[in-house]
């Protein structure tokens, strides 16, 4: 075997932490990681948040984010230990030999400069190509990555192309200087499943055609499996398992890897629909000051104690439907019946009883809780507000609720900042439960969480549903979640319900084109899935 392109030995990385009321100190976030990458190969780095994936990825560029320090080990690129050289050596490396694709292209492009200027910047300033050569190369890459109108897309500004297209532009940016190694840091995580699949296919093809080596970082094992040759599983800055992709997916050795592979193993018996607790009839809605309807004639029913999942990609009107039901956006047309009464269309004129029985849980638990209130205040306020509970009685009920969400009463005086992502979402669930609601609207409640944590939240929601007989309107873009918990499903596309019914009906053929696209776009944990789907699907995502 020839010398590896990238060789990392005993890499140790420290970060400075600033705990409240204590002196800043260093903690180890990567404890001695070793790996090698041959020319033209792809290594997938996978793990949950905080596993050190991005930190390790960036070390291939000799870079540590603010407060992060590479304290030990060696990083060899093309036979040089890049940690030994000075900043001038690193400057020659970055953007020429090693390039980087960030997670959020929208946040990484400079909105004031045209795409072409940014794509060719590194190649030109590193002296690799002349400006005109670089532009010609960029146009070729645009075409290869499947971007529409490759000759002119470079003269647009970043906000003039869609998220999926921008992510592909960023891939072109990284490939333009003909680097030896590209670090992809969760390039498809911020995209819809239907868009993700196109970007993924484009990246995979570009890697193959240019013969570049890549580090592919993701928290989604199914995605990594499609593009990588080898996979390294990381947990808390340590390597758990490292091997060829085939072995990791099909015969994982470590418990942690097995858990990652078998995630979403929840089974939920589908219940038959009964007289609905909530029925929204012919809802048409538009936002103030706009001239087009975001929802067209949407009708859904939710049975008591059951779950209706609303699925669709971003912009399909899922969250708008929730805003109409909660009364934050009065509809232009249509009405909502809830528990035998007709709900007033706007929230301020609803009765306290209506508000109490209809609760909501948000996607981002950190911003759904007031950072200056303790867990006790957050959960206690609905008790006080709806039931007038005070003192010891309230305290007792708060503890009961904390028990229900599987957290101890030691959490009552904690602030949200002192909780993990999963715990935060649990507290939000407890706050909704405190009102003893009949229906809870769950808006993408698991999409900001790591898969194993999300799994725990879904199990909790199902248990609570059995115990409290509460109905869920479950908004999500993730079909795996839907399969796990729904009783009935509404598929939304461009503001319309395109398919609606019991889970078993909606998920069995024959499919309409959109449902087929949505279903087939969910990454599956088997090799060759990507090629299969691209070859057989009937329509493309609206994001293209």
């Amino acid at each position: 075997m020839s010398d590896p392109l990238l060789k990392v030995c005993g890499l140790k990385i420290d970060a400075t932490v600033y705990p409240p009321d204590a002196k800043p100190h260093q903690i180890k976030i990567v404890h001695g990681v070793d790996f090698e990458l041959q020319k033209g190969k792809v290594l997938g780095l996978i793990g949950e948040s905080g596993a050190g994936k991005s930190t390790i990825g960036l070390s291939a560029l000799g870079y540590g984010r603010g407060g992060v320090e590479l304290t030990g080990g060696e990083v060899w690129v093309n036979g040089r230990d890049i940690l030994q050289g000075g900043i001038a050596d690193l400057r020659k490396l970055r953007g020429a030999e090693v390039t980087y694709v960030a997670q959020s292209a929208a946040a990484s492009f400079n909105p004031a400069k045209k795409i072409m200027d940014q794509v060719v910047e590194a190649s030109v300033s590193q002296g690799k190509f002349s400006r005109s050569d670089a532009e010609a190369k960029a146009r070729l890459l645009f075409a290869k990555l499947g971007l529409p109108d490759p000759d002119n897309i470079g003269s647009r500004y970043p906000h003039q192309v869609s998220g999926g297209q921008l992510q592909r532009c960023m891939t072109a940016l990284a490939l333009c200087p003909e680097p030896d190694l590209v670090v992809f840091d969760e390039p498809t995580t911020a995209l819809d499943v239907t868009t993700q699949i196109d970007v993924l296919a484009a990246i995979k093809e570009a890697i193959r055609d240019t013969g570049v080596a890549a580090l592919y970082i993701s928290h989604d094992l199914a995605v990594v499996a499609q593009v990588s040759d080898d996979i390294m599983v990381l947990k808390m800055g340590e390597m758990v398992e490292y091997g060829p992709v085939d072995q990791i997916i099909n015969t994982p050795q470590e418990e942690y890897t097995k858990a990652l592979v078998s995630v979403r193993s929840i089974n939920n018996e589908e219940k038959t629909p009964t007289a609905p607790i909530l029925s929204a009839k012919n809802i048409t809605a538009r936002y103030k000051g706009t001239k087009f309807d975001v929802l067209h004639d949407v009708s859904i029913d939710i049975s008591p104690g059951q779950t209706l999942a609303v699925v669709g990609e971003s912009g399909s009107g899922k969250s708008t439907l929730a805003r109409v039901i909660t009364g934050l956006l009065p509809p232009k047309d249509g009405s909502t019946d809830f528990a035998g009464r007709t709900l007033s269309p706007d929230q301020p004129s609803r009765t306290k009883e209506d508000l109490r029985e209809l609760q909501m849980i948000y996607q981002m638990a950190d911003v759904a809780m007031n950072p200056r209130q303790t867990v006790g205040t957050i959960i206690g306020r609905p008790l006080e507000f709806y039931f007038g509970l005070k003192g010891a009685e309230k305290h007792k009920r708060i503890n009961e609720l904390l028990d229900e969400i599987e957290m101890g009463d030691g959490f009552i005086d904690r602030y949200p900042a002192e909780l993990s992502g999963g715990q935060k979402q649990r507290v939000c669930i407890a706050r909704a439960l405190a009102a003893k609601p009949k229906l809870i609207i769950c808006d993408e409640v698991t999409s900001a969480l790591d898969p194993l944590v999300a799994d725990g939240i879904l199990k909790l929601l199902l248990n609570l549903q059995k115990r409290e007989d509460v109905a869920y309107l479950f908004i999500t873009h993730d079909l795996a979640t839907v399969r796990a918990i729904a009783d009935s499903i509404a598929v939304m596309y461009q503001g319309k319900v395109v398919r609606y019914g019991a889970k078993s009906e909606v998920l069995s053929p024959p499919f309409d084109d959109y449902t087929d696209l949505l279903l087939s776009s969910v990454p599956e944990m088997n090799l060759g899935w990507l090629e299969n789907v691209i070859a057989t699907r009937k329509m493309e995502s609206a994001g293209n």
């Binding site: 600033y18 934050l328 609803r350 200056r372």
Partner: protein
């Protein structure tokens, strides 16, 4: 919590505390009465008069102590007034939105379009110059700045999910403003308060220097500069003493304000 305070903030806290202490206990600390003529004109400093005497033979140290009391009192009262008024209106405008927001904001724009000093001079030249009037004029003029800041901060917080959650719960406007928004808007407001206080000190000193602030024989730092400014020509440093006091108070309050700002706006809790 005092373990993590940087040295600059400690210095600031010490001097700010010292000035406030002297201001509060002025009658017990000052060696002579405020308006008592106890020596010759512009005596140099001696054991009897630590800072010498002023343009008509009063003890300068005593004048400085009483002057500091007046200056700091006016500045503090004006700051409190401007913050109460400005932040209440600012939060209300942010939460209500619509025409309420428009009406208050455009009115504030109108007032801010007139230079503050000129506005104050015009008002004070037609009103009797007493301490309550001074406080009122300064507080009202400064509240426009506070309004701008608190509205900007509150508009950001108002769109957070936790405010929406409170709205959906059916909470009233009072709870939303005082329990959800205010606690989260407090840190930038407190930091701004330090800066506003110093601007108030400078403002009242400016007014007194121009003769429209504290009236003789009452003492305040701006007034002492005015009374002794002619001495500078003869090499008498009496006018520089209050200037020095204003400068040190400004610097120390700013050191404290910087620290608070740093602590509360930085993602690392200001310890980085």
């Amino acid at each position: 919590m005092f373990k993590n305070i940087p040295i600059s903030a400690l210095i600031g806290l010490f001097f700010t505390g010292l000035y406030f202490f002297i201001a509060i206990f002025a009658p017990w600390i000052a060696p002579y009465g405020m308006a008592e003529a106890v020596g010759d004109v512009w005596e140099p400093s001696s054991a009897k008069h630590w800072l010498g005497t002023d343009s008509i033979g009063r003890d300068l140290l005593s004048r400085m102590i009483y002057g500091g009391r007046t200056t700091i009192f006016i500045a503090t009262a004006a700051t409190i007034l401007s913050f109460t008024l400005g932040s209440c209106l600012g939060l209300l405008a942010a939460v209500m939105g619509g025409w309420v927001d428009q009406a208050i904001s455009r009115f504030v724009d109108l007032i801010m379009s007139i230079p503050t000093l000129i506005f104050a001079l015009v008002v004070l030249s037609v009103m009797p110059v007493t301490i309550p009037v001074l406080i009122l004029v300064m507080g009202l003029l400064d509240s426009t700045r506070v309004y701008r800041l608190s509205r900007a901060v509150a508009v950001d917080i108002n769109v957070m999910d936790y405010v929406e959650a409170a709205t959906l719960r059916g909470e009233g406007r009072g709870w939303i403003i005082f329990r959800e928004i205010l606690p989260n808007a407090l840190s930038p407001l407190v930091a701004e308060m330090g800066l506003r206080f110093i601007f108030a000190v400078l403002f009242v000193s400016t007014l007194s220097f121009l003769g429209l602030g504290v009236q003789p024989p009452g003492a305040d730092w701006g007034g002492i500069v005015k009374e002794n400014k002619d001495g500078i020509v003869y090499g008498i440093p009496a006018a520089l003493v209050p200037a020095f006091a204003i400068a040190t108070l400004a610097i120390s309050v700013n050191l404290v304000a910087d620290w608070i700002l740093n602590r509360t706006t930085s993602l690392k809790g200001g310890r980085g």
